[in-house]
Subunit: 184 residues, 2 copies
């Protein structure tokens, strides 16, 4: 069954979003879905293979959500709010972004996975930049759409991390308020 593999990824993703990749052990992961650690190695020979799968899967999920927003006949500001809502959902689940977490663990990632990670942020940034440049003249800030996209992405990622420490959602809310205020 390919179902087990997906369950493995589900549990692994939740674990990484909570405690990071370093804290995820093949045994704990196996226990949680009722198989043996060697069986996890069957699906993901090395830990880096599991990490790759998680990043790509997360990116595809994210991409689908972005496409869904793109398909809406909303104005830029509303689409941006919908984008931020993705992060709010993550915060509601008391998680952080999978890639935000892995960004912190960047040092111990394989070069391949570092590239995948970098690609995730680039993608997200490009989507926002494309969205913003539709009517770039309605932005209340003297920065390029690309720069603003970077500010939004890193701001939201940082807010998720800091809010979890404080046990609040104040950072995310502040980011949201400010970002939306930059659009007329």
């Amino acid at each position: 069954m390919n179902d087990k593999r997906r369950r493995l990824e589900d549990v692994a993703q939740a674990s990484v979003q909570r405690a990071g990749l370093k804290s995820l052990s093949f045994r704990t992961l196996a226990d949680e879905i009722g198989i043996k650690s060697s069986s996890v190695h069957y699906h993901f020979p090395e830990k880096s293979d599991l990490a790759s799968a998680l990043i790509q899967r997360y990116q595809e999920d994210f991409r689908e959500q972005l496409d869904a927003i793109s398909a809406r006949r909303w104005n830029v500001k509303r689409k941006l709010a919908a984008f931020i809502a993705i992060f709010e959902q993550v915060a509601d689940g008391e998680r952080v972004c999978l890639c935000g977490m892995m960004a912190a663990e960047c040092e111990s990632l394989s070069p391949d996975n570092r590239r995948l990670l970098s690609g995730f942020f680039d993608d997200m940034e490009s989507w926002i930049a494309d969205l913003l440049c539709v009517n770039a003249d309605s932005i209340n800030a003297p920065v390029s759409t690309r720069q603003l996209a970077k500010v939004i992405v890193s701001g939201l990622e940082g807010a998720l991390l800091l809010d979890r420490v404080a046990g609040s959602k104040a950072n995310l809310k502040a980011q949201k308020d400010l970002i939306l205020s930059l659009l007329k």
Copy 2:
């Protein structure tokens, strides 16, 4: 010698800022300064004691830099730029903020250390909020000084993490440009 203890903290801090607390082992740490791991336990009985010491030390260092900026007879914008420059220095050393890194590892921290961490960000945020509210009417954004302070802190922390993945300083620069543009 109390010098060894400080050398321990120096090396440990650098290690955490590079790879995180989880990746720091007592043995590796001991090796780097030429003692045995049991001697590290003499200074810091448990790993959480080392973590506490690192957070507090980092906060004190930070506080000193903030005080130095406060003492200057500069306008708000220039002081804010000086604040951001602290983060730029961290980025130049190819590090991330010690507390930003630990924020990602929040799940595996003791309640005490989570409180210390939370206090660090509160402090930083308060310093900015105090700075901004000196002339709050010169802020180009419809958000409170407290909120703006949150945006700045989480934005800079996130930028450090994401820039390290991309191997650039573009996120930090974007944050800087935007933040400074919010002040008249």
